[in-house]
């Protein structure tokens, strides 16, 4: 069964259903991370003066800076993959989507080294309030990266080409929707980076 208004816009919302759906989902995601940001503010205000800055200084700013640049780059390659489909160039789409997946993998590898570096020094979520909220926020963000990679990987594999062959416009919309999710994941990191590493 074909879902209605997947390609054409619904007259009442002015959007196709997929786009409306992803934005409502992203709104719920804003509240999920919003709740945790609120927890961060609450814990920071209640912590002894200098406690968060002390534990924050144990994190690696160069690693996080590189990761920020990697994630920003992945946002650009993501949008370029969608633009390539708009230009009906599937080969370029494959290249840009592949680069997005590569950036996402680099991000996770760097995160892995950051985490294991902490564990190696005996620092765990239970070590302090700051580390508790640090691992919670970055862990949840990391899960979002993995989720995005699974969906992007699926569209990058031969299954994506089959969809493109049979319904190119539908496939282009799907990539746009995945892109919106991916930019949101980038956007969350833009706030996580300064509040956890720099303040």
């Amino acid at each position: 069964m074909q879902l209605p208004y997947i390609i054409e816009e619904r007259p009442d919302t002015g959007l196709n259903n997929a786009k409306l759906g992803i934005w409502v989902f992203l709104a719920s995601e804003i509240m999920l991370f919003g709740g945790l940001f609120s927890a961060y503010v609450f814990l920071r205000m209640a912590a002894p003066v200098g406690d968060f800055a002390y534990w924050g200084s144990k994190l690696s700013i160069p690693m996080a800076t590189v990761n920020t640049l990697v994630l920003i780059s992945s946002s650009v390659t993501m949008i370029m993959s969608w633009v390539s489909l708009k230009m009906k160039d599937f080969e370029k789409y494959k290249m840009y989507m592949g680069l997005t997946l590569l950036c996402a993998s680099i991000f996770l590898v760097i995160k892995y080294f950051e985490y294991t570096g902490k564990f190696h020094h005996g620092i765990y979520p239970s070590s302090s309030t700051f580390m508790g909220i640090y691992f919670t926020l970055t862990g949840l963000h990391g899960l979002h990266i993995i989720g995005g990679m699974i969906v992007m990987g699926y569209f990058w594999l031969p299954a994506g080409y089959k969809m493109w062959e049979s319904e190119p416009e539908h496939f282009t919309n799907r990539i746009e929707v995945v892109g919106l999710y991916w930019h949101f994941v980038d956007l969350v990191w833009i706030f996580l980076f300064p509040i956890l590493y720099l303040l």
Partner: protein
């Protein structure tokens, strides 16, 4: 696809690359600003201001919010109000007089 459409897309690509440059520059600026000798309050204000500009660039250009339909803008406005409420809950604890007694 016509030459006109291709030209239109080329312009979009230029915008995306400019935004990318701005985001990379602002990231390095955030790191540089964190080494400045300023008070914690000023540092928080500065870092969050730069992060807000970066987030606006991503949402506005990569997520196309500046040209997006009103339905989405209303959904996000409502969400933003709830988000602000969420952020103010910790502030309420500061003015909780019961804890001062």
């Amino acid at each position: 696809m016509s030459d006109h459409d291709n030209g239109h897309i080329e312009e979009h690509i230029k915008v995306y690359l400019t935004v990318f440059g701005a985001l990379a520059f602002l990231t390095l600026l955030t790191v540089a600003a964190s080494y400045m000798d300023i008070s914690t309050t000023e540092a928080i204000f500065l870092a969050l201001s730069i992060a807000t500009v970066k987030a606006s660039l991503v949402a506005g250009y990569f997520m196309h919010l500046i040209t997006e339909k009103q339905t989405i803008i209303w959904i996000l406005t409502l969400t933003f109000i709830f988000f602000l409420f969420c952020m103010f809950i910790p502030m309420i604890t500061v003015i909780d007089h019961a804890s001062l007694s």
